[in-house]
Symmetry: C2
Subunit: 534 residues, 2 copies
């Protein structure tokens, strides 16, 4: 075997160079190269913890009949994840901004339901009388103006033989008089509608069912939170839940497809503008609260992303584009960007709106406004043609970020464009999994990270999946690739501010606040470890 040794040496060096070259392309290359001694130490501690928990928790489940992998279905492993020290560590990590979350699916569902019960204006109706043996119908919720509520004050209950389908009943009465199990069964029914409680199965039909279930919950929530007094407390709750999870900033997608919501007095004069004002008040309130507690670094603000359905015709869209511009002109610090709502496979293509969107860009330029496109594109796996078309348009129309984008990795030039132009992908791996799109191990997240395409981790509809904030998303990003460590999470947190729609001044102070918290987090890990070693 003469010559083998030198050949093996040469090979070993070539191999190491190749791996180094690939790692250099990754999104976290700079964070790893520039790590402080303290950061390196903290990353080692967390790696050790991770390996220990792989052996003590995940691998230990093998053969126990309760085989668990952290990358299994989220609802299946959520409990096990919460019991890990790695999760508790990540919970404390300052996670920066949450850039993709839908307003109506960001507030914990029991809280929404309690809000509904607090206001006698909230009414419920069903399309068919509730009987013990038939499946429960889908209820509709709506705040009724006092005079209208009076008309329905004595309406027969949902379970009464006299109930006329489609008749409103006040929520409190409907609940108290629920004959099939009383208020407890009623509560279970409504709360059960608001969240997804089962993993999707492999078969396609059920997949559609999961999505349908999701939209049902969305509509039920919308019937409650379109009411001004509910909204105030709802906003507050969402923002506080973010702070609690280490999220200091949010850009929340809001459905502006309806022209207005309802005031406390029952009048339908609660406009988009009023919604913005109310939201701004809630943001300000939380800021004051945090400041008064000496915790101002923990919350730097929140903005709204103006969204409309992608089923609108061009004329209808035009009204909303103009509305969006008008609101941005009045509240530049509140409107983060623009997006379309609803499943890509059933809506219009972005291409169908291209003239309107080019007009919108021109108009923004003319008025010196900045409302970046933050398009949900390239999501469906089974309708690649639409996903593909939308991906091309998002990138060519200069989108600042793209939502989901699970099909992006199929496109060599679009990947390159996204990387070069700094278009971030809003990755929602838990949401994608629970809506049956793709499981974590098949998610393109690792590919995006390895190619250095900017990624921001997002929960999409956290309340529908039973959580708030970003801790689970950060946890999954760590466990889905052996290349990701604590410094990778640092970079993901930084990117969540870097690719946000904060203006340069806001961005600067957000980064500074985040840096302070990051260093204290790292110190905490290093300090904590030293203690437990003693």
């Amino acid at each position: 075997m003469r010559g083998i040794d030198s050949d093996v040496n040469e090979y070993t060096q070539k191999r190491a160079s190749l791996i180094t070259a690939e790692n250099a392309l990754r999104f976290d290359a700079e964070a790893i190269a520039g790590a402080t001694e303290n950061e390196k130490r903290a990353a080692e501690i967390v790696d050790t913890l991770r390996v220990r928990e792989v052996n003590e928790i995940w691998n230990a489940s093998e053969g126990s009949g309760m085989l668990m992998h952290p990358d299994m279905g989220f609802l299946t492993v959520r409990g096990a994840i919460m019991n890990t020290e790695l999760y508790r560590t990540i919970k404390k990590l300052p996670k920066g901004g949450l850039l993709r979350g839908h307003m109506n699916t960001m507030c914990d569902v029991e809280f929404i339901y309690r809000l509904a019960l607090d206001y006698p204006a909230i009414h419920i109706r069903v399309g068919s009388r509730i009987t013990p043996n038939a499946p429960l119908p889908l209820p509709e919720f709506k705040p009724l103006a006092p005079e209208l509520a009076l008309e329905y004050a004595n309406a027969p209950l949902l379970t009464s033989a006299d109930y006329t389908p489609g008749t409103w009943v006040s929520l409190g009465r409907a609940r108290d008089g629920y004959s099939y199990g009383g208020p407890e069964a009623f509560d279970k029914w409504i709360i059960g509608l608001l969240a997804i409680t089962d993993e999707p199965t492999k078969d396609d039909g059920t997949l559609d069912k999961t999505t349908a279930k999701f939209f049902k919950g969305y509509r039920v929530a919308r019937g409650i939170v379109c009411y001004e007094p509910v909204l105030k407390r709802f906003f507050r709750r969402i923002l506080l839940s973010l702070v609690e999870d280490g999220v200091c900033y949010a850009e929340i997608r809001t459905n502006f497809s309806h022209k207005m919501d309802m005031r406390e007095d029952g009048s339908e004069t609660f406009s988009h503008r009023d919604y913005l004002v109310l939201f701004a008040e809630a943001v300000q309130e939380i800021k004051y609260k945090m400041k008064s507690e000496g915790r101002e670094d923990e919350f730097v603000g929140a903005k709204l992303i103006y969204c409309v359905y992608r089923t609108f015709n061009k004329q209808k869209l035009q009204w909303y584009l103009e509305d969006c511009i008008a609101l941005k002109a009045e509240f530049p610090e509140l409107i983060a960007g623009f997006d379309f709502l609803g499943p890509e496979s059933r809506g219009n293509l972005i291409w169908d709106y291209v003239e309107s969107l080019i007009w919108f860009r021109q108009e923004m330029k003319r008025r010196e406004l900045d409302i970046p496109f933050l398009f949900l594109v390239g999501e469906p796996m089974q309708n690649e043609k639409k996903a593909e078309s939308n991906l091309y348009d998002a990138l060519l129309l200069g989108a600042k970020r793209i939502g989901h984008g699970v099909n992006l990795t199929k496109h060599p030039l679009l990947m390159q464009m996204a990387k070069e132009k700094g278009v971030a992908v809003e990755v929602c791996s838990i949401s994608n999994e629970l809506l049956g799109l793709t499981s974590l191990i098949h998610h393109p997240l690792t590919t995006l990270l390895n190619y250095g395409v900017p990624v921001v981790l997002c929960p999409d509809n956290p309340a529908s999946y039973g959580y708030a904030g970003l801790s689970f998303d950060f946890f999954q990003a760590m466990v889905c690739s052996n290349k990701s460590n604590l410094l990778s999470l640092k970079q993901l947190a930084k990117q969540s501010l870097q690719y946000s729609c904060l203006n340069s001044e806001e961005m600067k102070s957000a980064h500074e606040a985040w840096e302070r918290r990051w260093h204290s987090f790292v110190d905490g890990i290093v300090g904590g470890q030293l203690e437990s070693e003693n």
Copy 2:
């Protein structure tokens, strides 16, 4: 809206250029650019057929309670696929070479079982007596030498109260005297072991079960086909089934991990060399047969890929590497390449064998032999670290092809290397789906094709999945991406010869034969269409 029109025009042109530029990177760009008028016409006819069947077959199933997508689980849709005109068309397409298929899972399972019944030497034993209420034990098969068979001639039957676990019973006796349902139930039991009949479910445990089931079937088959007289007919059947499916060439992975098989006279002197000679005879026989029927273009030959388990220690591996070189030296036209067998997640890394493999390369160079590495690497999704390590080594050690490689797309530099060096990926989408690795819509096949990384479609273990040849694999490659058309399949067929281990002379004549058949296939489509239009 002044200026809109020109902006929209400019945008439209930019968009078209981008899409053209991406398509130019695809593997089929040249085939599409260089298509003859007849090929274009045929591609249009097939596209029309495809769209018609999407509407009339696939979409029509929506709401019928039997929702079907051609990219659902293979066993679920196989029947529906076979009923399409698209499948029948693809069946006739000359598909070139089959470059990844395991010998023991390439022959239809009922035929193997019938072979076993034909030879009294074949015996069966179980590890526990068969009783009506316990699950059926896993049987072992083995040909026994006549003198040994005599010893067991009157052994109690598998279902007898006197059966001693581990005792051999001749297969015919065991079947005739099977007390729980007679020969029919016995046949069902054994045939059921040889193939996979259920889709894997989402849950991991069952996934392991599918793989375990697959290996059980593999072992049962191996116990039958290690017998010389069985082998002759077995080889013949495999090669004829390929011809029947439009496959003109094959490189079949053969497990050489055992040192020898058994002769008809019961002696264990049937060596690796003897196996090769027998296989060469079968190949020659089919060549003569095809020639005598004036169909010589339909079969150009077959080679074996020398495979050993990746669990061997280095000393043991050395014996096999030397054996492989000796066989190649004697039968240069029969040994196509070298590969490791068995699941990556449980075996050694290629890195662990790097010295031996570098020695092997040097030795080949010295002896002027060419035994390319055709490594199964980058397969497991859940053990990315091993998959990653093996991918690096396969590409750095100069593998000619890589098997499975589902993790390759995660690696930007490895993708580039594979494209530049012309390392083909043996894509086995049906096998990957049925072994629970990834479903068709999550398979990286589209990504590989879009990036222009060479791909060869392979069935891996077609008999375990109830088919032969490549028609289903070609069908899936077409339906999994809207960008793939008949010319894409042409390119895939050509690549299956281009990336084979045929020597330059063989390659030239294989391509010529394939071209003749391709043109006649295209003429058939164009001619057939004209007929039906009259």
